[in-house]
């Protein structure tokens, strides 16, 4: 076990309206077994002792599943190691490193404070159609509808999305295609999702467009930044499903 001394370049901004800036901090004696967020805890504890306001950042479960932690580290969301920031460990860094820490940036993610951004736009995409409209209590016996194992696995792969927004933050166009397509694919793949498939695809894509996300230009940066390995295959599938849904809507296959 070794201890690291680091220079942090951190984005500070009091609130949505304030002018933001990069500030420099020294992180001293950071155990390399600590997680990135624990490193920030240590820095914050020191700031508070100095009477300064700590660096605000979002975090909750700290086991890589809730999707609340964000942070763009050296220009890459979650630091680009295929894990969430809370699962990024300091052994990935070297003594003397300078680390740039910025919020997840996108026009659709308004900044609230320091490194905290508002990602409710993602919830709105789900509210538009990212669900199966079944009423509680009306479900048939679970084994009445066999699902091919491969299909279930593929749906799971898409459903593993934690909704952190790294795909948007990493995208050079701030597109939300990976997020939207993953949720759509999860439900569109399963037999349970078929009755609403076209409706879902149209509603989700149109909502995504309305929220001011950019357009995908197939850079695949999202896939590389995704801590859960969500594949851009989902995007291809969404494009396909969207064409079919538009055709269906145009000729009135579903009303």
């Amino acid at each position: 076990m070794a201890n690291l001394n680091l220079t942090l370049k951190v984005w500070r901004q009091e609130n949505a309206q304030a002018q933001g800036r990069i500030e420099t901090y020294k992180a001293k004696n950071i155990p390399d077994e600590a997680s990135f967020l624990e490193m920030l805890d240590i820095v914050n504890e020191e700031l508070v002792h100095e009477g300064k306001e700590p660096i605000h950042f979002d975090h909750d479960c700290r086991e890589g599943i809730c999707g609340m932690c964000s942070l763009t580290i050296n220009g890459v969301p979650h630091g680009g190691k295929k894990v969430t920031t809370c699962q990024l460990h300091m052994r990935q860094f070297k003594d003397g490193d300078t680390i740039w820490i910025e919020p997840f940036r996108a026009a659709a993610f308004p900044l609230l404070r320091d490194l905290v951004v508002d990602r409710t736009a993602l919830d709105k995409i789900i509210a538009a159609g990212g669900f199966v409209d079944v009423r509680t209590g009306a479900a048939p016996n679970a084994n009445n509808m066999p699902v091919r194992k491969k299909t279930a696995d593929a749906a799971f792969d898409a459903a593993a999305c934690i909704g952190c927004g790294a795909c948007v933050a990493s995208c050079k166009n701030s597109a939300a295609m990976l997020f939207t397509s993953a949720k759509a694919a999860h439900l569109n793949l399963l037999p349970q999702g078929q009755p609403e498939k076209n409706k879902r695809v149209l509603a989700m894509v149109r909502q995504m467009d309305a929220l001011g996300f950019g357009n995908c230009t197939n850079l695949y940066e999202c896939e590389a930044a995704c801590p859960k390995g969500i594949s851009v295959d989902n995007i291809a599938k969404l494009n396909r499903d969207y064409m079919i849904a538009c055709a269906a809507e145009a000729v009135g296959v579903f009303a």
């Binding site: 850079l219 940066e221 000729v251």
Partner: protein, 223 residues
């Protein structure tokens, strides 16, 4: 009927719809590129083919001897395709620019140079096409095509501009081809590496062939 129009309008204003249009027009332009290249390759038929006419002169006069309505339909069609491709791409780019707030320190994991410079290389190719049309299509004599091309490429500035433009085209096509397949939904994790190879191969072969013309002229192979 109304439904069709409403949906069509929604399609062409949606992000995916416009991407698909850019992809499909791009695919058309790729096909045109192949056709155009095939024609151009007749230049390697040499100066004199049958009688005192070169192959490329035959080809050029052949094109021009098409009925005017057909020739102009093809030309206007191509123009329309190109305009849709360019205008929609620029609109998407503008939206993308507005959707972003910029990092103080930028980082990139996977996005290639060619994928990030599509608008730049595209505009470069566009400028080149305008020049190319002015130089060879509207100021040339189809019956004397071979000599006209030879003269043009014997000026190093012209050749270098041509080569740079084609290199931009190569980058554009490299990302463009596999991007078309992704956008129209024909891509998966398994075939994507193959698409990448095919895109590279296509870009190198097609653009290499185009570039071979000025290079051969400058090296004196074609004279």
């Amino acid at each position: 009927m109304n439904d069709i129009i409403t949906t069509a309008c929604k399609f062409v204003t949606s992000s995916i719809g416009r991407k698909i249009l850019v992809a499909l027009t791009g695919a058309c332009l790729l096909l045109f590129l192949v056709g155009h290249l095939a024609g151009n390759m007749t230049i390697f038929g040499g100066d004199v083919a049958a009688g005192d006419r070169s192959w490329i002169d035959f080809y050029a006069t052949g094109l021009h001897s098409m009925p005017a309505w057909l020739l102009w339909s093809i030309r206007l069609g191509l123009l329309a395709v190109a305009l849709v491709h360019i205008v929609l791409a620029l609109v998407l780019k503008y939206e993308n620019y507005n959707a972003r707030t910029h990092y103080q320190k930028e980082g990139t994991l996977k996005a290639t140079l060619s994928s990030r410079t599509m608008v730049l290389t595209g505009l470069m190719v566009f400028c080149f096409i305008v020049f190319h049309l002015w130089q060879l299509t509207f100021n040339g004599d189809p019956a004397n095509c071979y000599q006209h091309i030879l003269h043009a490429f014997q000026q190093p500035v012209c050749s270098i501009f041509y080569i740079i433009a084609i290199l931009c085209l190569m980058m554009h096509v490299r990302h463009g081809l596999q991007s078309v397949l992704q956008t129209v939904g024909l891509s998966t994790r398994k075939v994507r590496p193959l698409y990448n190879i095919v895109s590279w191969a296509f870009a190198i072969v097609v653009c290499g062939a185009f570039i071979s013309i000025p290079v051969c002229v400058m090296l004196g192979i074609l004279k």
